[in-house]
């Protein structure tokens, strides 16, 4: 039976979202190649996360518990993962396209002398030259291109998956799987660089990753008091604020709220883009939003090509009208409570 292996990344003792998003993807792919699904779980004591992986479709969980791996250690983790893959010879390996996943995946692929495709947004199995191949789609040139990549000769086929582009599946608590403890073979020399500390950052605002509504602004707000309008609108729709590169460069918004190729990839129900021309390296960051509303004074701005609903006009007049429209209907409810 062919095997698909998912590297189950954890942060602060919990599985990160993309780990479960990849499990759902692995389930789909396993049907196509008639394969089994395994997960690799690495940490100090982290076996409690195995059940969640099994509920999401893992038939086997390779559990590596070692005090030296309590924090993410790139070279040592790469060796442990590569050692498991060498023994198992899986067909496909999925790793999260997070900071940690991207770092470990490249070292694993290099150790196994196989190909790695980074930040995939879509995967499919196609028969090419009489063999089932994993066709890996990535956005190239800042989303201005869609590139399909294959790894024809080498196995395993390793990819990292962009967080947030695939849906998690529903857990099924009746699923059963095997927990397989693996003793890592690690000497001091295998560590290379050492992670000494993991410091969680307290961000003052909420997270864009889970936001249902995002209001994002760009250079078109120049002369409108920067982000004052964006903040006011976000406030009434209970949304998070975000912005384009020029908005970040003008100091209107923090770097961590940058949307697009070099920033965040988000998937809200509603994305409102205000005063943004719609450069491809920006729009690629919200291509999975359910509904996109664009407001800009330039009718020929490319943002209107990607928006579901567009309004052309003066931001200084339209946004206050929208805020007024929203608050006037919300007011009676507030007085009741």
């Amino acid at each position: 039976m062919r095997e698909l292996i998912v590297y189950a990344e954890q942060k602060g003792g919990m599985l990160v979202d993309v780990s479960l998003e990849m499990m759902a993807q692995a389930v789909q792919l396993s049907h196509r190649i008639n394969g089994t699904i395994s997960a690799i779980l690495i940490g100090d004591s982290c076996g409690y996360n195995a059940d969640e992986l099994i509920c999401h479709g893992a038939h086997k969980v390779y559990l590596v518990e070692d005090k030296r791996l309590a924090l993410y250690q790139n070279a040592a983790t790469a060796k442990v993962v590569a050692d498991i893959l060498s023994v198992q010879s899986p067909e496909i390996v999925l790793i999260g396209g997070t900071s940690v996943g991207t770092d470990v995946a490249a070292r694993v692929a290099a150790r196994l002398r196989t190909g790695l495709t980074a930040h995939c947004i879509d995967l499919s199995i196609e028969e090419i030259d009489g063999e089932d191949q994993l066709v890996q789609t990535v956005p190239g040139w800042g989303g201005r291109m869609s590139v399909k990549i294959v790894c024809p000769q080498r196995r395993p086929q390793i990819v990292t998956i962009r967080p947030g582009v695939m849906e998690k599946g529903d857990p099924d608590p009746t699923r059963r799987g095997d927990l397989i403890p693996v003793m890592p073979v690690l000497t001091e020399d295998d560590f290379g660089a050492r992670t000494l500390a993991f410091v969680e950052e307290k961000t003052k605002a909420g997270s864009l990753d889970d936001a249902r509504i995002i209001v994002s602004g760009g250079f078109g707000l120049y002369g409108s008091g920067g982000f004052r309008l964006i903040e006011a609108l976000a406030d009434v729709v209970n949304g998070e604020i975000a912005g384009t590169r020029p908005a970040v460069d003008h100091g209107w918004i923090e770097e961590e709220r940058l949307i697009g190729q070099s920033g965040k990839n988000v998937r809200p129900r509603l994305f409102i883009s205000i005063g943004t021309s719609g450069a491809m390296h920006y729009t690629t960051g919200f291509s999975r939003a359910q509904v996109v509303v664009a407001i800009d004074r330039n009718a020929s701005a490319p943002i209107f090509d990607v928006a579901h609903i567009g309004i052309v006009g003066d931001l200084n007049r339209i946004i206050p009208c929208i805020i007024k429209e929203l608050t006037k209907e919300a007011l009676p409810e507030r007085t009741r409570s």
Binding site: N74, A106, A110, G143, K148, I149, H308, I318
Partner: protein
């Protein structure tokens, strides 16, 4: 200290990218080529390291003849010399083949620390630094925003989603640079003049004893799928347009 900085020449971020008719690559005509912005942070950190500890900075780059311009840009910023690997077998190389070529060139020169950008802005893959480290048998610290070198060790800060990792490594090592690490300097006019006389070796893969081994291949490139056109709310009255968008979002899209 012997310092190496790897740079890649990429299309300018604003360049209009068109796919070749056969889907094998991009049309290069009319494109303005620049040093990948993350590599500029790498070059800057290499120069700062040299200014602090002495030594020299060697630039390594892979690409066709036009790549020389990017190598000269790094020399104009202050690096001492360059290696330009110009071999058609590497023009469309994947990350593994690219890293192998860089490794082959770097093996032949003394190296205490190697800087790369955290990723190139064309293929966005972000793998070369890590593979290079693995091939050279060196530790790597990737995507960092702070670096402190003391003696033969370095401490770095790597931001990850919602947290930071503090990482320590011995030298030699590979470092990949993220925005925030520094502010890259501009090349001065005297720097540009001097750069013209600085030595750059041009090498083929065979000169480095390298057989190009590609692991992945691009099956097809295409423009991203088009979406059906959206609805533009017409009219002159901002209040009416505001009311209509709220109605659509509430009643049709049901997202607020």
């Amino acid at each position: 200290m012997n310092i190496v900085a790897c740079v890649k020449q990429v299309p300018d971020t604003e360049a209009l990218i068109k796919v070749k008719a056969d889907g094998s690559g991009i049309e290069e005509g009319g494109i303005k080529w620049v040093m990948s912005p993350y590599d500029e942070f790498g070059v800057e950190e290499a120069l700062k390291t040299k200014e602090k500890f002495g030594g020299e900075v060697t630039i390594v780059s892979i690409g066709p003849a036009r790549t020389m311009e990017t190598v000269r840009t790094a020399l104009a910023m202050g690096a001492e010399k360059g290696i330009h690997i110009d071999d058609p077998a590497l023009y469309n190389a994947d990350a593994y083949a690219t890293a192998s070529a860089l490794a082959a060139a770097i093996k032949g020169i003394p190296h205490d620390i190697i800087f790369c950008g955290m990723r190139a802005i064309d293929d966005d893959s972000g793998q070369v630094g890590s593979i290079l480290a693995e091939l050279l048998g060196l530790p790597s610290v990737t995507v960092i925003t702070k670096l402190d070198i003391e003696g033969s060790t370095a401490k770095a800060i790597k931001p990850i989603e919602g947290a930071q990792l503090l990482i320590e490594t011995s030298l030699p090592c590979v470092i990949t640079a993220q925005k925030g690490l520094n502010e890259p300097r501009y090349a001065s006019l005297p720097g540009i003049m001097k750069a013209k006389k600085k030595p750059v070796e041009v090498k083929k893969a065979a000169d480095l004893g390298l057989t190009v081994e590609q692991k992945s291949t691009v099956a097809k490139m295409s423009p991203p799928p088009a979406r059906p056109p959206g609805k533009i709310i017409q009219g002159d009255d901002p209040a009416a347009k505001a009311a209509e968008v709220i109605r659509l979002l509430r009643e049709e899209a049901k997202v607020i």
